[in-house]
């Protein structure tokens, strides 16, 4: 029987290729995801090794929020800065060969003459400023041209920025730093292990004194790094340095530090891997529908052959095995193909990273045993399991079936099927409705899955229905025949459309959710935004503009109120939580926080404002004392002076629970966080907007020319960002659509084969090749439209329920259905349906009339 299975495969190479194709894409996506994350992991491991592998001891502040609890995702590794005077004590330790300060700023960049940074900003690679160290083991950068910075007013920069800015040695530039703009002369060009920059990160090196003064507003530093003299182990040196610097700071070995950095980066990569993996899973699932369908059709077409085997004495078990083996071999081949395809995917993604400015250095693609194992198991398991049901059906073929005249797959919708589908759909819908009422996300997810599978089970009924109705749109006898072909075997039509339904459901869900989310955010902004302008630093969440910018804007003519917004971490109620530093005096005029009790204007030293959620959760009232733990570990009680309804506009996210005046914030946070992520500005009455805007833009020029936006521009920006994200997701899901199209190709090729005689007859009695081809094309398009519509309905329902369930966290939650976008999707679906039909249509048209008629 094994031989039979293999021979079946060999004699149907084309079918093998198409069927395997669906799995190749899915497995390729999975493998590509793993290869990419492993490659990125290797790139950054190398980067970390190069940056700090030669360091033997690291002295740094203690991590005070290291304990469990608090908000998930809130950085618990926040550390206080060090007094640079500690350097002398470290240097004095016996066994320390050399030691130096490490001052790093993530918001330091060389500006072009127009004030814009030369290197990219925003969520791209870091833009580093640091102190030049002459201790080669502590400094991963080397001088490629010129010399290191020696005194104030001198800098050395990475070669990529140097070239991109068309600079020369001796060029005079302006550098934005956390303390404001610094004029400087370029005296050196730096490379990082032979590369022009550090995996995309730009660099500006200062001499030590300037670095302390300019990169660190309070004169403190992040780390002191040391290397050991010969014969002194890292552990030994750590112990000695600990004795010298005392218990108030943290001392770790270079090795431990490297491991820590690597593992923290790895955990971020895991998130990335999970997200990509989710999309890969969708394509794999789409592939399983195709395997299921293909083997179902094959078994039906082969009924007579199978029955003959049974009649000749093959046991049902053997028939079962032969089908499963055939699937397993297909799956194995597809998995191997998928691995190769995955390498291609990873390579393309790597190129895409390059285009985004992250040059992944000469590391080749990393293929681990795990990647190979995951790809093989995923491909083999999905293919084999999907073939189990068709194989069972095959094993139940009665020997008598060999004698029967024809054995065309029958089957519409049985009563039981309708009941099961009804139950699934009903339960799913009930869950969705209850989710919308009770605002439970879990119920939306569960209900969505039930709804989807309900629709899949009900598929044959839906296929018949849509064949009857939609089919009328296809004109003439070709349309009539196409329609009848969709309806004649609704189970086949439905499972052909299943992968397309899956893809379209997920795409529609993302689309509805994104658009609705964007509309909700914009509505929230419109309701609560009172400022005239918002200046965005472009930095992600933390860091951004030096306080000097907001101060200068405050002194401009026609400015009525100004508040920067800084994000940081504080220990409250047993864990690390996000909090925000604002101008207590002005914030209430710039943003409507829906204050329920107290006054935001009362924010100042010793006070805090909390939102309704936290006030309820922790039973805080006006006048309550909130114990806060600051970055240096000290505890400070803050008195609640205001309780507000919604802090989303300050946080630009759901975590705006705690608000303090910047005077409090700055004392509690390390220097790197004492920067304004955004600055809100209100114009005085009667001040011409455009003139004020120009004045703000002029002020911002030495600070990296940040964007100055009014409400409409903010909203447009938000929509644009959401649309970009959506586009990214849709591209990732596009692979599932292609898999869906492959499903259509596969089914139609098999159907054309099955209908050879019928097609021959049509040709004999006068249908031209074109008519035969059109019939197949129409059928393909009908199936595609059917899948699209069901996907639309499912995606829209789930997306709407999702939005409704979010009313708890987003008050302005609304459902927005972007009809034009859906129309575009529908058009694309028709195009894909047509494209999928082309090959089968060509095969049908090409059939030799004579052979087609006389075929047995």
């Amino acid at each position: 029987m094994l031989k039979l299975a293999l021979r079946n495969l060999r004699s149907h190479k084309l079918r093998l290729v198409i069927t395997a194709g669906a799995i190749v894409l899915g497995v390729g996506f999975v493998a590509g995801t793993f290869v990419l994350t492993d490659t990125l992991g290797k790139v950054f491991d190398d980067l970390i090794d190069r940056s700090s592998a030669t360091t033997d001891v690291v002295v740094r502040g203690k991590a005070v929020f290291d304990s469990a609890g608090g908000d998930p995702g809130e950085s618990k590794a926040l550390r206080a800065d060090l007094d640079p005077a500690l350097l002398d004590r470290v240097r004095g330790v016996d066994g320390v060969k050399a030691a130096d300060l490490a001052i790093v700023s993530a918001t330091t960049q060389v500006l072009r003459p127009d004030g814009k940074p030369i290197a990219a900003t925003g969520n791209g690679p870091p833009t580093l400023g640091f102190n030049w160290s002459d201790v080669a083991q502590l400094n991963p950068w080397t001088v490629a041209a010129g010399r290191p910075p020696r005194r104030a007013g001198e800098i050395a920069i990475d070669r990529a920025t140097f070239r991109k800015g068309k600079l020369r040695l001796g060029s005079r530039v302006l550098v934005r730093t956390p303390t404001g703009p610094v004029p400087a002369r370029v005296v050196g060009v730096l490379t990082f292990g032979g590369q022009d920059n550090a995996v995309g990160a730009s660099a500006v090196a200062f001499d030590r004194a300037t670095a302390i003064r300019r990169l660190s507003p309070d004169g403190k530093v992040q780390e002191i790094d040391a290397i050991a003299a010969g014969g002194v182990s890292q552990t030994e040196l750590v112990a000695r340095v600990k004795r010298a610097v005392g218990r108030s700071v943290d001392v770790v070995s270079g090795q431990a530090n490297v491991q820590e950095t690597k593992s923290s980066f790895r955990s971020q990569l895991r998130i990335f891997n999970t997200v990509l993996g989710g999309f890969a899973g969708v394509s794999l699932l789409a592939g399983t529908f195709i395997i299921y369908n293909t083997f179902g059709i094959i078994v039906a077409q082969r009924t007579r052959e199978l029955a003959l085997l049974r009649a000749l004495g093959a046991a049902g078990r053997q028939v079962f095995t032969s089908v499963v083996v055939e699937a397993a071999v297909t799956g194995l081949l597809a998995s191997l193909g998928g691995l190769v395809f995955g390498l291609g995917v990873a390579w393309l993604l790597k190129l895409a990273f390059g285009a985004l400015g992250v040059d992944l250095p000469s590391v080749g693609l990393v293929v681990t045993g795990r990647t190979v194992a995951v790809a093989l198991v995923a491909g083999l398991a999905t293919t084999t399991l999907s073939a189990v049901v068709p194989a069972r059906r095959a094993s139940r073929v009665a020997p008598m079936a060999a004698m029967r005249e024809s054995a065309i797959e029958h089957g519409g919708a049985s009563r039981r099927r309708t009941w099961v589908a009804g139950a699934l759909l009903g339960l799913g819908a009930a869950l969705m409705i209850s989710a919308a009422v009770s605002r439970s996300l879990a119920r939306v997810a569960f209900g969505g899955v039930l709804l989807f599978f309900g629709a899949i089970v009900l598929g044959p009924v839906l296929a018949t229905l849509s064949g009857r109705t939609l089919g009328r749109l296809a004109p003439g006898i070709t349309g009539r025949l196409a329609r009848e072909n969709v309806i004649r075997n609704p189970r086949r039509s439905a499972s052909t459309a299943a992968s397309l339904i899956l893809a379209l459901t997920v795409i529609t869900l993302f689309t509805i959710f994104s658009t609705s989310f964007g509309a909700s955010i914009n509505a929230a902004t419109a309701r609560g935004f009172r400022a005239t302008f918002q200046v965005t630093s472009g930095a992600f969440q933390t860091g951004g503009l030096p306080p000097a910018f907001a101060e200068q804007v405050r002194s401009l003519d026609g400015v009525a109120a100004v508040s920067g917004i800084r994000r940081g971490t504080v220990g409250v109620a047993g864990g690390a939580r996000a909090w925000f530093g604002v101008s207590g005096r002005d914030i209430g005029r710039l943003v409507d926080l829906q204050v329920e009790a107290g006054r935001l204007e009362a924010l100042g030293p010793g006070t805090i404002a909390v939102d309704r959620t936290y006030a309820d959760r922790y039973r805080w009232k006006l006048g309550s004392e909130v114990r806060t733990r600051w970055v240096d570990g000290s505890i400070h009680p803050l008195r609640v002076v205001a309780i507000y309804g919604n802090g989303d506009l300050v946080a630009q996210g759901p975590d705006g629970h705690l608000l303090v005046d910047q005077s409090v914030f700055d004392r509690a946070q390390p220097a790197a966080l004492r920067l304004d992520n955004r600055v809100l500005i209100e114009a005085a009455p009667g001040v011409p907007r455009e003139r004020l805007r120009q004045a703000i833009e002029r002020t911002g020029r030495p600070f990296g020319a940040p964007k100055v936006q009014d409400l409409a521009q903010i909203q447009a920006d938000q929509s644009r960002q959401i649309n970009q994200q959506l586009a990214f997701f849709v591209v990732l899901l596009g692979l599932s659509v292609i898999i869906g199209a492959i499903g259509i190709v596969n089914t139609l090729v098999l159907s054309v084969l099955e209908r050879t005689r019928e097609i021959g007859l049509l040709r004999a009695v006068g249908a031209e090749r074109g008519k035969v081809a059109t019939t197949v094309l129409f059928e393909s398009v009908l199936v595609a439209i059917f899948g699209t519509i069901v996907g639309f309905v499912l995606g829209t329902s789930i997306g709407s329920a999702l939005m409704l369930s979010l009313r708890g966290s987003i008050e302005t939650a609304r459902i927005s259905i972007p009809i034009p976008v859906l129309v575009v999707y529908a058009v694309v679906a028709v195009v894909i349906g047509t494209a999928a039909g082309l090959y089968p249509a060509w095969r049908a048209a090409r059939l030799d009339v004579l052979r087609a008629i006389t075929v047995e």
């Binding site: 025949l481 072909n485 019928e758 049509l762 006068g766 249908a767 031209e768 090749r769 004579l850 008629i853």
Partner: protein, 248 residues
């Protein structure tokens, strides 16, 4: 046999028809210089042992297959000058087919199958004619049924009606009774006979059943790609006797 209407003209003819299958050493000669003329308004049967070339001859006459050498005329049209599209149109407009395995479209009703060629051509159906044909084959109460709901004999009656409904110049029937029992065979052959007698239809039938051949006006005997004999007003016994001699 009733007297056939006088043969008025030649409806189809093959001139020095040669057909090879395959090329080179493995080429098989299916037709070796066959000259044949099919007279209008008559029922011609083509007989011969398996591999004699009888099906090939019919397929070539019907424009379903092409000759290696020689020419085929349908009416005054030389089929060798036509491309695939023109051949398709010609079949649609001038030729009717009946196959051994019925060859109906399973998704269409009996009536839709009968009118399929007209529908494909975008032509109006000649209603009175259609009713007459349907009445002749006795399907009036089965027209809404799908092929799967009909017996073999009924399906073949639909196929005959489809062939006749177009009023084609010529109907080709390829072993039309091959899959039927003797009762159903008799019915089908009777319909074909009366189509010739009553409508003046020209029919060419390939068969190896002497009883079927006995319904024809004329039987052509093929062997090894050549016409070796012919018989007018055949009887089943005479045909059977002639066929037996092929074994010698």
């Amino acid at each position: 046999m009733t007297t056939a209407p006088p043969a008025t003209s030649v409806v189809a003819r093959a001139v020095e028809a040669v057909k090879y299958y395959g090329t080179g050493d493995t080429a098989v000669l299916a037709l070796a210089q066959v000259d044949v003329a099919i007279e209008g308004g008559r029922f011609t049967a083509i007989m011969g042992p398996s591999g004699s070339g009888k099906s090939t001859l019919m397929h070539c006459l019907a424009g379903l297959d092409t000759l290696t050498y020689g020419r085929v005329f349908l009416g005054d049209v030389d089929l060798s000058t036509l491309d695939d599209k023109a051949l398709t149109r010609l079949r649609r407009d001038r030729v009717g087919f009946v196959f051994q395995s019925y060859n109906l479209v399973p998704t269409l009703s009996a009536l839709e199958n009968i009118t399929l060629p007209s529908t494909l051509a975008g032509r109006e159906v000649d209603r009175p004619w259609l009713e007459r044909v349907v009445g002749t084959v006795g399907l009036a109460d089965r027209l809404d049924h799908r092929p799967s709901e009909l017996s073999g004999g009924q399906q073949q009656r639909v196929a005959v009606a489809r062939a006749l409904a177009q009023r084609p110049q010529i109907v080709f029937a390829d072993e039309p009774t091959g899959n039927l029992d003797s009762r159903a065979s008799g019915e089908i052959l009777g319909f074909m006979r009366s189509a010739v007698d009553e409508f003046g239809q020209t029919i060419v039938m390939v068969t190896h059943d002497p009883i079927a051949a006995s319904y024809a006006d004329r039987v052509l005997f093929l062997a090894d790609g050549r016409i070796v004999d012919e018989m007018a007003s055949p009887t089943a016994q005479a045909v059977l006797d002639r066929m037996k001699r092929f074994g010698d």
